[in-house]
Subunit: 333 residues, 2 copies
């Protein structure tokens, strides 16, 4: 980076005003006489002046930048959330610094710290569970945080989710009413608050209340091959209906069953819990708990803008409506 070609000072000199006035024009402060404003704007245009956001950030202590913390960019669940976030961020003129934190060289809270050092005005957090060090760092720097599509067990951070317990219960009901007797739950990370404190308890309660025998919770099923390889175990355990939290694992199970010559949904009903593109393009198409991912991202970002402006926020734990969409991987369409 070489010396900046044209600064606010050049504009000021050329327009025969002070830097302060140029700054006011640039920032839309209306305490400037129209003629002065026009003159300044003309010079800005003529000189191709562009404000240096780094200097603005240092002087104003606002960077108009938010941090996005995401486990994995190539997971469509997060990609669709991010899209909602991104659109609203653009609307409010925030830039996004994105950092993914899975399988990394650096520890999660180091990555987060580096984000805070960049003086982001706020953070949207989408990973499973907020580590203590990170929570401390957020509080210490007083940075607003919104969790999108995830929860935290302390109730300190705002969040945007769906009602996971209700959604899963509804899906389990669907399977049960289809006559399935041996229902299972397949999750990625059991340490995730959404799973450990919402989905799994909801599932266990359902099994107990309906006298459906022993619960079967399969954990650590994170990608396509995990799902693919799990299928024989499901057969062995006599599972005939399953809720899978990750789309890609659902597809793994689906393909494994198909490759083994089984019939979906007759032999096994599958409900997937995310509803990314993936769920609808495979055949048979997957019945899904359709989470409004784009909207969740958008709402989270909108809430963050309020928090960053110290505006009143009436509800910091927002649950958006989901929809149970029946496709070909369950009966009774």
């Amino acid at each position: 980076m070489h010396k900046q070609e044209v600064t606010i000072y050049d504009v000021a000199r050329e327009a025969k005003v002070s830097m302060a006035t140029v700054s006011r024009v640039v920032n839309g402060n209306n305490n400037v006489r129209k003629e002065t404003r026009d003159r300044v704007l003309e010079v800005i245009k003529r000189l191709h002046y562009q404000p240096n956001a780094v200097a603005q950030g240092l002087a104003s202590k606002r960077t108009t930048t938010v941090g996005l913390i995401v486990p994995d960019l190539t997971n469509l669940y997060f990609a669709e959330l991010s899209k909602g976030i991104d659109d609203i961020a653009l609307l409010y003129k925030y830039n996004i610094i994105i950092t993914s934190i899975e399988n990394r060289l650096m520890k999660e809270d180091q990555v987060i710290q580096s984000l805070l050092n960049k003086q982001v005005d706020g953070v949207i957090y989408m990973s499973n569970r907020l580590p203590n060090e990170a929570a401390e760092a957020f509080k210490r720097t007083n940075t607003p945080v919104v969790l999108a599509g995830t929860k935290d067990n302390r109730d300190e951070f705002a969040s945007v989710t769906i009602d996971y317990k209700k959604a899963d219960t509804e899906a389990l009901n669907l399977l049960m009413h289809d006559g399935k007797k041996n229902l299972a739950l397949v999750v990625g990370d059991e340490d995730a608050v959404v799973n450990g404190e919402n989905r799994i308890p909801a599932y266990k309660d359902f099994i107990k209340e309906n006298n459906l025998g022993e619960p079967h919770v399969y954990t650590g099923v994170k990608d396509y091959s995990d799902g693919y390889n799990l299928y024989p175990q499901l057969v062995k355990d006599g599972i005939d209906g399953v809720i899978v939290t990750r789309d890609i694992s659902s597809v793994g199970i689906l393909n494994s069953a198909m490759d083994a010559g089984r019939k979906i949904p007759e032999d096994l009903e599958i409900v997937t819990a995310s509803a990314t593109q993936l769920a609808s393009v495979v055949r048979p198409a997957l019945t899904t708990i359709k989470q409004p991912l784009y909207d969740m991202g958008a709402v989270a970002m909108r809430m963050l803008t309020k928090l960053m402006n110290n505006e009143e926020v009436d509800e910091t734990h927002i649950e958006l409506p989901y929809e149970l969409v029946k496709k070909q991987s369950t009966l009774n369409q």
Copy 2:
């Protein structure tokens, strides 16, 4: 953002040295006596000092931030490229500001200008075609740019791609040797340099050289439903082998054919040109021109680090090897 709790000045006072020395310690400059360094480090730890990256950026004129310009976050092609970029960026301690530019409120070059105002040290560009205004802005600010998975018709910007002409020709050969007579090419954006100046000419040359009749190039096929709706037209035109640039469109064509009761690959052979996750999870699995997306991203980012350091770069137009992977959507596996 409130006043920063602890600054380099506090550390200096506490450690009884000057700011300059603290700065040297922080930046790993080894012109500091060991005892002094240890004392400073101790204070840094004790006070929880973290350097303010914005102030560093202003003073040093380097932000250790790079801009990523991507059409669409939810397109796995870009997500996988981004992952490679992200990993290398982390390795070299760069943060990433990501901006997507499709269907937006703001014009592309405005978005890019806002990125430049943030004083990014470099940019990785992944969209179809670099607009003139943007190219001018990059040159004016002297910001290094690397194109990843895309090309530019002026030869001014570094790029990392595969040899699209060769890849497509090879794929067309495969289809021809399977006995297909009426080959088509389906692309998203015909204005994209990769399509307009590489894939389409390669296709047309092949058709002409092999006397395969009239060329059939279908353009503007961008998403799932575009592909789905195109299929009847392919039937009408008697197409029996097709290369599709976007995975999601390939899947649309595939499902459309299956839903119509046709057989793939017997009735239609499909080669898809990206090789994201999508191509391998659908059934029949798609034969693909497997682009090394992760590596392309990684190589692009690595090259950018060199450009940002004014290091010697021997080759600025890198073509990585691809692989033609035969799956179930073509014969002769």
